[in-house]
């Protein structure tokens, strides 16, 4: 579709705090992005949007568990709406707390809102909050979110979380995720080889160095690192005199997909 007609909804509740930088990134690429409180989403629905973003933050103070309360709210209040959205092959993206919400709501790993989550984002192995830049290896290029990336490319993007250790429900389920191409980003060494749990390259102890996953079709994606914080060159820790950072590549993929949608 014509990009000028496409619209993104960036959802928020009390405690969400990464909505504005998400809006800046999307708008920079020419997409209309609206930040909507859950209350407004309940009134307006999602039909006018093609991209639904759950941004980072500490939704509802992350009381109970990170993302748990908002996850349950999403599940109980907009389940069918969101399922229809996903069925129409529109895009759903969760970053950091948004990823945690997606896991808690059961949206990921499968892309359908199941009752019991099949994975968890547990406390970091280091037992503390980790704000640092990490290297990500693209495990599957060409998906809606990696349309501007090739398999095997390395991105440098920061993380900032206390609960990001991806744990699948079982070994078999992990295998399934890998085989079906649902593992989208893995923490890696600067050289591109897998981090294999080495701290701080794998900043949280995620199983199989998983940093981001998607559903089979690839239109539902969650990741712990923050691409919106590595969007512009001036946000980067080194080599700052370039116009854009690696985070932009992910948003570029979104734009490509929406243009074809």
């Amino acid at each position: 579709m014509d990009l000028s007609r496409a619209k993104a909804c960036i959802a928020r509740v009390g405690g969400t705090n990464c909505d504005l930088e998400m809006k800046v990134a999307l708008e920079n690429l020419g997409l209309t992005a609206e930040v909507l409180h859950m209350k407004q989403i309940l009134k307006r629905g999602l039909s006018e949007y093609q991209l639904f973003v759950l941004p980072g933050g500490f939704s509802y103070g992350d009381y109970v568990r990170a993302g748990a309360i908002w996850g349950k709210e999403v599940h109980s209040k907009i389940k069918s709406e969101l399922e229809a959205f996903i069925d129409e092959e529109k895009l759903v993206m969760g970053v950091c707390n948004g990823f945690q919400v997606m896991i808690e709501a059961g949206i990921l790993p499968n892309g359908e809102l199941v009752e019991v989550p099949k994975a968890a984002l547990a406390n970091n192995m280091s037992a503390k909050y980790e704000c640092r830049w990490v290297y990500l290896r693209v495990e599957r290029g060409g998906t809606p979110f990696t349309g501007d990336l090739e398999t095997g490319e390395i991105l440098k993007i920061p993380v900032g979380h206390g609960e990001g250790r991806f744990i699948p429900a079982s070994e078999d389920f992990l295998k399934e995720l890998i085989e079906e191409g649902c593992v989208l980003f893995r923490y890696s060494m600067p050289s591109g080889e897998a981090a294999e749990g080495r701290y701080p390259y794998n900043p949280n102890g995620s199983v199989y160095d998983i940093a981001g996953i998607c559903n089979r079709k690839g239109n539902v994606m969650g990741m712990m690192p923050h691409p919106e914080r590595a969007f512009f060159g001036w946000q980067l820790p080194e080599e700052r005199n370039v116009p854009y950072g690696d985070g932009k590549r992910i948003f570029q993929g979104i734009i490509k997909y929406l243009q074809k949608y």
């Binding site: 009390g14 705090n17 103070g61 503390k128 980790e130 704000c131 390259y201 946000q235």
Partner: protein
Amino acid sequence: MKEGLIRKVPGVSVVEIDLSRAEDKDLSEISQTMGLALSLREMKALKEHYSRPLTDVEIQTFGQTWSEHCIHKTFKGIVEVEGGRRINGLLKEYIMKATKELNKPWCYSVFEDNAGLIEFDQDYLVAAKVETHNHPSAVEPFGGAATGVGGVIRDILGVWGEPIANIDVLCFGPLDLPYETLPHGLKHPKYIYKGVIAGIGSYGNNMGIPTVSGAIFFDSGYVGNPVVYCGCVGILPKGFYVKDTKEGDYAVLAGGRTGRDGIHGVTFASTDLMEDTDRLRPAVQIPNPLVEERLRRAIITIRDRRLASGITDLGGGGISCATGEMANRSGLGIEVSLDVVHLKEPDLAPWEIWISESQERMLLSVPERNLGDVLEVFEDEDVEACVLGRFNGSRRLRVYHRGLVVCDLDLEFLYSPPRAIRKASHVEYVPTPCALPEPKDLAEELLRILSDPNIRSKEDVIRTYDHEVRGCTAIKPLQGDLSGPNDAAIIKPLRDSWMGVVISCGITPFYPDPYWMAAASIEEAIRNNTSVGGRRIALLDNFVWGNPEREDRMGSLVRAAEACYDFSKALDAPFISGKDSLYNESPLGPVRPTLLITGIGIIPDVRKAVTVELKEEGDPLYVLGVTRNELAGSIYLKSKGLNGGECPKVNAKISKDTTQSLIKAMDSGLVAACHDVSEGGIGVAAAEMVMAANLGLSIDLRNVPSDVNRSDVLLFSESTSRFLVEVKRDCVREFEEILQGVPHCKVGVVGGNSFRIFGLDGSTWEVGISELRHAWRGVDGP
């Protein structure tokens, strides 16, 4: 106490206190038992003014409003200095005076509101404020530090600012302090350290405000009195700074509920910490960042829709101080009803509701026509709000509880407390010779200093604070994968402008002379700001001192304040805001007198900022400034347990010329890397530049501008006004031209994979980069 002075009024929830019949000792006893922390002079002033009995709500209002915390009686009072000199207020005569004389057109509102305001560009203002939360953090480290952060964020909201960065500077006792040396009632430094750091991280991260600047110090002078400075910087469009409360406007209280937490926080902050700290826990507030996050959203919306006529935060003194101050500031009066306040528990006494310091609350004045809209904005953000009262022209503070007037005070009298008179002795450090034999192995000394707790990398702490949230952090506290320590942080607050806000700290608590300590702190804040490219620097002062009623404490405070005037003026950097925390005393004695200077600069283009890590093999390294034999209070001596030596001094002219030339060189694109020389001297600064880059360096001490004849002194002296600058190879001539008239010399070359030092007598020392990193960070690699 004489009988019947304190009388419960039948059928109502207030107590009456009859001061008219009270004798001096009764007055002191009343002040003590009611937790007022008022002096006998102040109690007598009350007795003289009121022939009628005062209610507990009224007398508590005086306790809060006249507290050291709320009106800074020491800084505003009269000081009689030994020898007959009389100072008409430290604030007026020194700190504010420098600002007034510098008369910068970009200073928008200074020393007036909750935070200092300076111009950012034509359309925007930057707001900055730094607070201390020492007493609460000593008692309940997590809650104390977290509410310190929450409180200073509200100071920024209180000037309609959108918070964009947090600053935290912390001082603790040594973490390895033997438990048996800890006096009863005090908490171990390790416990305080862990709680404070967790509290700061928790609140800042939750609120989504990047914590970008700070420092951590360890010293036995902080065992009884840990120091927690919390700062916040915000931004707002110029025309939206509205403080115009009018008669008939409503007072709206919004945010968290009011409870028994934080009762007497200000009076507790205004007295020594002498009892078992656990008994004081109820004086510490309970943090809930989620509530403040919602509150922030609502307030920014109200600002942007121009719905309110005024705003202030609820900090010390709770509702009593916020309503009184807002009414008084606007030349008005106010009627307040305590019945509408949302409470955490039902049976609070009126005086408790009135002075509780429960967190996450703000007070707004709202014109009648906008009241509905304001309440709707709060409701949309799930923030509880109530219409507390209404402003009128009475110049009185009248409070109702269940239909009865429980407080009715004349604001004129309430805000004219008797002026304090303090006595000060003359305090000056007299240098003693320092008996330090010259060590043979400077490599070994360097590694020892790098692993000193005061020098060691603070990465373990810094990475638990989110410094990237909001996506506006251009220069980060830690540089690159190898986490080099940048001297200042830069935030790019506006989408459509390359301009950045440069945030730096200066703090040199170990220098023994109070005057030169303050001078060095000011100069360091400016120097750190300059190191990354900051200019047009405004300063904030935060004094943490002992009991000002003791002449020696007061004496050193006077000297430090004098230096603030002298160097703010000479270095052309005005103070815009400040805060003092006095009465930091414990059974172990007074706190180490500590002055934090925060520097807020600007940079025209964040892409041109300079970072700490060495960049390019073959580039020359320059030392700017003169190295003198100034070891007093240096980490070099301190780490050896030695005293004596000369205190580092500041030559304002050299300092100013150096920073101006350096900025010029940076703007001309000649500088590849820069680091300020401070704790640990040239040795530590150079090692940090090496470790941050994984690039080696050799330096020749024979070329360092100096009259010192010992290699160890050259390497570790902490003389002020110095920088290490990596100059781009092809730009040397241009750089030298710009630096004309400023002491400087090429001392080294970037390259190799070790740090090599050539001494005065021709000896050389070499340390591998990985060895340096092991000493400084405990690990090699990221």
